[in-house]
C-alpha cells in the first residue's frame, strides 16, 4: 500500500490525542508522511472526538479523504458514528465487551445522528446493538477485529502490577497496538514514539507492554494485512507539527519578542507553544502576555510594536472582532503589528471547535475609516511557516498592520513537513530613522513610508486622531488630504513591490478546461482532486490565492480569461464563496459557480472530485457535507 487512511475515535479526554500523537510520530519515524486532523466538540470530557489521518509512503500528504482503511474505536459511539466511512474490505477495531450496547442508549450522541441511524438501521434490518451492526458489517466484507478491552487491560494489569483504578488510562494503547499490528508498523519506531510521549518511565513501560500485547494478539489472527510500502521519501530531517506549532516556531525565527493573547480556540495553543519555548534556548526571550481580553491584547501588542519589538496577537473570529478598533488605530499610526487569525465556524460562537473560512471579508474590510493593510492566507503548514515570517517583514517594511489568515483545520492538524530552508529566510526591518537627528518627525511626509524610530530613541507623538507630521492632532483639510494620501499610497507601493508570483500558486496542467479557485486549507484537497481529475482525463487546474491584499489581480484575470468565465469554480469553506466576491471586486469578472462546505469539517478529496464533475454537468452550486 502506498497510502493508508484511518480514523481513531473515542470520548473526548479519553486518550485519543495520545493514540493519534504516538501513531503519527511512529509513522513519521518510520519515514512516512502523515497528516492527522482532529475533530472534537466544544467539550472537555465525554463527547465524541476523532482523528482522521492519511499516511503516505510517497509524499508528505496535505489532504484527507474517504473512505478509510481502518476505523479504530475506543467506544461504541465511534463505531455507530463512523462505520459508513470504511472502505470495502476495511478494518474495524472495536471493543467486543460493548456488543450489547444500543446506539439509542448513548447519551453523548447527538439526536440528529440517532435519528439518521434509526432510519438506516430499520432499512438494513439491524436491531441497534453493536453486535448486530458488526454482524452486518462482516456480511458486507468489513474485516472486524473484535477485542475484549477488559481482558486485555486486566491481563496487562496483572503482568505489570498496575493499580486497578489506573488501568483504564491505558486504553489508548489498545488502539495504538491494533493499528500498528495491521499496518506492520516498525516496533522500534513505535517504541521511540511511546518513549517520546510518556516521559514517566513507568507509564511508558505499561503503555508499551499493552501495545505489544495487542500487536501479538492481532497479528496472530490477521497478520499485517495493510502493510505499507517502504517509504520513498528521502529526507534527513522532518518536522512533525500542528499548524499552531508551525506558526509559533516561525514567530521565534521571525524575531517576534512580544505576543499578547486572550484564550480562544483554536488560536491559544500557538501562544502556549511560544510560552513553552520563551527563553529561546538562550538566544533571547519572548514575552507572552495573557491579557484580560482581546481589546487589551491587540493594544498591548501595538504598544510593544511602538518600542521596536516585533509584536503580534493570535486570535479567532470573536476575538478579532474585539480587536478591530485597535487595528484601526494601528492603521492610523502606521504600526507594524501582526494579527494571526485562526478562523473557525461562525457566526457568533458558531462552531467554536470546528473549521471554516468565513472571516475573509471581515479581514479585508474590518475597519472604521480607511487604512492600508496586508492580508495573507496560508494553505498548509509550510505556507503557514513562511507566511508568518513574511507577515512581520511586510508589516515593518510598509508600516502597516498585517492579518495572517489560517483556520482551525490547519491549527489542529498534525503534519510531517520538511525542515524550513533557512537559506531562504530573511529579516527585513524596513526604513529606520538615523541616530542623532536634531529633530524627529514620526510621520515625515517626504515619503509615504517615513523612517521609523522607536519609543525611547526620540521624543515622538502618536494619536488616533488625524495628525500632522509630528503626530499631533491636526484637522486641517489640506493636512488631512496629504496624510490620508501618504498612508493610502502605501497600497500602490505594496502593489508594485510584492510580486505577483508571491500572491498565488497554480497547480495543474497548462490550459486547463476547468479552473478551481480557492484558498487556505482548500489547497490540500484541491491539489489532490486536480491530480485525480487529470488522471481521469479531465483537465482541471487549481488557482490558490495566497494574498488577498495585495490581490493577484493580473494572474487571476489571465487564468480566468484563458479558461473562460463559465468554467471557473470557487471552492471554499464558507456559504457565500467569499474569495469569489473578492475576485469579482478586483477583476470585474463575476465568478458565479461554487463548491462550498460549511459543516465545520474539511473538504475531502473524493467529495470535491464528485462536485467538480457535477459542476461540469451543469450544476452551479455544490454544497458539501461529508464527515462526522
Amino acid at each position: 500500500m502506498k497510502t493508508l487512511r484511518y480514523i481513531l475515535g473515542g470520548p473526548q479526554g479519553g486518550g485519543l490525542e495520545t493514540s493519534s500523537e504516538v501513531l503519527s510520530w511512529a509513522f513519521a519515524r518510520s519515514g512516512y508522511g502523515v497528516i492527522s486532523d482532529r475533530e472534537y466538540f466544544s467539550n472537555i470530557k465525554g463527547r465524541h472526538s476523532y482523528v482522521h489521518a492519511t499516511v503516505s509512503a510517497t509524499e508528505y500528504p496535505k489532504s484527507l479523504d474517504y473512505p478509510v482503511d481502518i476505523v479504530a474505536a475506543m467506544d461504541a459511539e465511534t463505531v455507530f458514528t463512523h462505520f459508513q466511512d470504511l472502505r470495502e474490505g476495511g478494518y474495524l477495531i472495536y471493543n467486543v465487551d460493548e456488543d450489547k450496547t444500543l446506539y439509542s442508549s448513548i447519551p453523548s450522541m447527538e439526536h440528529d445522528l440517532r435519528d439518521r441511524l434509526t432510519a438506516l438501521f430499520k432499512e438494513l434490518g439491524i436491531d441497534g446493538t453493536l453486535a448486530s451492526l458488526t454482524k452486518y458489517l462482516r456480511s458486507r466484507g468489513v474485516r472486524v477485529i473484535a477485542l475484549s478491552y477488559k481482558e486485555l487491560l486486566s491481563e496487562i494489569q496483572r503482568k505489570e502490577g498496575i493499580v486497578p483504578s489506573q488501568v483504564s488510562r491505558y486504553i489508548s494503547s489498545i488502539i495504538i497496538g491494533a493499528v500498528a499490528a495491521i499496518t506492520g508498523l516498525d516496533p522500534n519506531a513505535l517504541d521511540q514514539s511511546l518513549r517520546r510521549r510518556f516521559r514517566n518511565e513507568e507509564v511508558y513501560r505499561h503503555n508499551r507492554a499493552l501495545a505489544m500485547l495487542v500487536i501479538d494478539t492481532v497479528r496472530s489472527q490477521f497478520g499485517s494485512e495493510l502493510k505499507l510500502d517502504e517509504p520513498s521519501i528521502k529526507s534527513k530531517e522532518v518536522l512533525v507539527v500542528s499548524g499552531n506549532d508551525a506558526v509559533a516556531m516561525a514567530k521565534t525565527v521571525a524575531g517576534v519578542r512580544f505576543q499578547a493573547y486572550y484564550p480562544i480556540t483554536p488560536a491559544a495553543d500557538e501562544s502556549f507553544t511560544l510560552e513553552e519555548y520563551e527563553t529561546l534556548g538562550g538566544a533571547g526571550s519572548i514575552v507572552v502576555f495573557q491579557t484580560e481580553d482581546e481589546l487589551s491584547a491587540i493594544n498591548a501588542a501595538i504598544g510593544a510594536a511602538l518600542t521596536g519589538a516585533r509584536a503580534s496577537v493570535a486570535t479567532s473570529g470573536p476575538g478579532f472582532d474585539l480587536m478591530v478598533e485597535g487595528l484601526s488605530w494601528a492603521g492610523q499610526n502606521e504600526v507594524p503589528v501582526v494579527v494571526t487569525y485562526y478562523q473557525r465556524g461562525g457566526p457568533s460562537t458558531g462552531q467554536p471547535t470546528r473549521g471554516g473560512q468565513s472571516d475573509l471579508l471581515s479581514s479585508v474590510f474590518a475597519s472604521h475609516g480607511e487604512y492600508p493593510r496586508i492580508v495573507l492566507a496560508s494553505g498548509d503548514h509550510e505556507e503557514a511557516f513562511y507566511d508568518t515570517i513574511d507577515a512581520f517583514n511586510y508589516a515593518e517594511t510598509y508600516q502597516v498592520p498585517v492579518i495572517h489568515l489560517l483556520d482551525k483545520f490547519l491549527a489542529n492538524t498534525i503534519a510531517t513537513i520538511s525542515m524550513p530552508d533557512f537559506s531562504k529566510i530573511r529579516i527585513t526591518r524596513g526604513v529606520l530613522a538615523s541616530k542623532g537627528l536634531r529633530e524627529y518627525r514620526r510621520f515625515d511626509m517626504s515619503s509615504p513610508i517615513s523612517p521609523r524610530a522607536f519609543l525611547g530613541d526620540y521624543v515622538m507623538w502618536y494619536s488616533g486622531d488625524e495628525h500632522d507630521e509630528y503626530g499631533h492632532i491636526d484637522e486641517d483639510p489640506v493636512n488631512r488630504v496629504r496624510m490620508m494620501e501618504k498612508r493610502m499610497r502605501k497600497l500602490e507601493i505594496i502593489e508594485r513591490e510584492i510580486p505577483e508570483e508571491r500572491r498565488y500558486a497554480y497547480y495543474g496542467p497548462d490550459k486547463p478546461s476547468i479552473l478551481l479557485i480557492g484558498w487556505g486549507f482548500v489547497k490540500g484537497a484541491a491539489v489532490k482532486a486536480v491530480e485525480e481529475l487529470n488522471e481521469e482525463g479531465i483537465r482541471a487546474g487549481y488557482f490558490h490565492i495566497r494574498t488577498f491584499i495585495p490581490f493577484p489581480t493580473n494572474s487571476v484575470t489571465k487564468f480566468i480569461r484563458e479558461v473562460g468565465l463559465e468554467n471557473v469554480v470557487a471552492v471554499e469553506h464558507n456559504y457565500m464563496a467569499q474569495a469569489a466576491k473578492l475576485v469579482t471586486m478586483n477583476t470585474g469578472l463575476l465568478v458565479s459557480k461554487s463548491i462550498v462546505k460549511f459543516t465545520g469539517r474539511p473538504i475531502y478529496v473524493n467529495e470535491l472530485v464528485n462536485a467538480v464533475k457535477n459542476v461540469m454537468k451543469g450544476s452551479t452550486r455544490e454544497v458539501l457535507s461529508y464527515g462526522a
Binding site: W25, G255, L295, A297, A301, G303, F422, I473
Partner: protein, 313 residues
C-alpha cells in the same frame, strides 16, 4: 542629559484647548513640575492617554506621547512597558475612560503591579461628549448637562484600586498643584503600579463639583496623621481595610493624599525577569533579531530549541 530639565523644555507648541478654568490645567501644571523636578529624560518618558479632554494631555508635554483609544490606554501602556522596561510610563486617563469602558484593564493592571503610573482625571462627567454621567458621579445628582438625575451609583475608585492590588494609591486635587505634584513624583518613584485619583472640576458641565465645593471639603490625609505605608506583608489586610474605610468618607469630608503604599509586591517586570533571565538585559524592544538580514535563530539553534518536534534520520 547634561542640562537640568525645565518646565519650558516640557511645553510643546500645541495650543492647550481645554475650556478656560478647566481642572486639567492644574494637572498639566503638576505634571510639568513633577517631570522637571525628577529631571526625567524626555526620550525615555512616555505619556500614554486615552480619549476625551484628558487624552489631549499627551500632546502638551514634550516627552513622547501616545494618545490612544477610549478605555484602552492601560493596555497600550503595558505593551510599551513590558517591551521596554527602561521607559518611564505615565498614563493620563479620564474617569469614564478608566472606570467605565476601561474597568477590566484597570483591575487587571492592579493584579500585575507593573511600574506604571495611572493618573485619573476625575470630573464626574464625560466632558468631550457634553456632560453625560461618568462612573464617579453619585446617584440622584443632576449636573446641569443631564436631562434627568443620575440613575446609577458611583464606583469608589480608591476602593477599587485597593481591591485590585495597586501598590501606591492616592487622591489629589487639581487646584492644589503643589500637593498633586508631590503625589505624582512619589508615584513615579514608587516601584509598582501607582494610581492617583485627581479631583478635577469640569467648569462647563458640572455645576455641583465646583472649586468651591471641593475647597470646602478636601483635607490632607497626611496632615491628619494617616500613615499609608504597609510595613510588612502581614500588615496589608488591616492597613488596606483602614484605607478602604477612609475612601468611603461621606459628603462632608473628602480626603486627599496617599491612602496606601505597599512596597512588598514584585512588579510584573520583575516577575518576567524571574522567568526570562535575559529580560532586563535585552528586553523585547532592544533584542537583536537579525544579523545581516538573517534571523538570529538559525538552523542549528532552531533544531536545538524545537528538538521535540524534529525527527532526524
Amino acid at each position: 542629559m547634561a542640562r537640568k530639565l525645565t518646565i519650558q523644555d516640557l511645553k510643546t507648541n500645541v495650543w492647550v484647548d481645554w475650556c478656560p478654568g478647566c481642572g486639567n490645567f492644574g494637572i498639566l501644571s503638576a505634571m510639568y513640575q513633577a517631570f522637571a523636578e525628577l529631571n526625567l529624560d524626555p526620550q525615555k518618558t512616555v505619556v500614554v492617554s486615552g480619549i476625551g479632554c484628558s487624552g489631549k494631555i499627551a500632546h502638551f508635554i514634550n516627552v513622547s506621547g501616545v494618545h490612544t483609544l477610549h478605555g484602552r490606554s492601560l493596555a497600550f501602556a503595558q505593551g510599551i512597558k513590558y517591551a521596554n522596561p527602561d521607559l518611564t510610563v505615565v498614563v493620563n486617563v479620564g474617569d469614564g475612560d478608566l472606570l467605565g469602558i476601561g474597568a477590566a484593564h484597570f483591575v487587571a493592571l492592579g493584579r500585575r503591579n507593573p511600574d506604571i503610573v495611572v493618573i485619573m482625571h476625575d470630573n464626574t462627567v464625560y466632558g468631550l461628549t457634553k456632560g453625560q454621567a461618568s462612573p464617579t458621579l453619585r446617584i440622584n445628582l443632576k449636573p446641569k448637562a443631564l436631562p434627568k438625575p443620575n440613575i446609577q451609583d458611583a464606583v469608589n475608585p480608591i476602593g477599587l484600586a485597593i481591591a485590585a492590588g495597586y501598590t501606591f494609591i492616592a487622591r489629589g486635587y487639581a487646584a492644589r498643584v503643589q500637593h498633586l505634584k508631590e503625589l505624582i513624583k512619589k508615584a513615579i518613584e514608587h516601584r509598582g503600579a501607582a494610581f492617583i485619583d485627581v479631583l478635577q472640576p469640569c467648569v462647563t458641565y458640572d455645576d455641583i463639583h465646583t472649586y468651591d465645593y471641593y475647597n470646602q471639603r478636601v483635607y490632607d490625609l497626611q496632615e491628619a496623621g494617616w500613615d499609608p505605608l504597609v510595613r510588612n506583608p502581614e500588615e496589608l489586610p488591616e492597613k488596606a481595610a483602614q484605607a478602604l474605610a477612609k475612601s468611603y468618607e461621606g459628603d462632608g469630608k473628602i480626603s486627599i493624599g496617599i491612602f496606601l503604599i505597599n512596597p512588598h509586591v514584585s512588579t510584573f517586570e520583575e516577575r518576567l525577569a524571574n522567568r526570562l533571565p535575559d529580560y532586563l538585559k535585552a528586553p523585547p524592544a532592544r533584542e537583536a533579531i537579525e544579523v545581516d538580514g538573517r534571523p538570529v535563530i538559525d538552523h542549528e539553534l532552531f533544531k536545538r530549541i524545537f528538538s521535540r518536534y524534529i525527527i532526524e534520520f
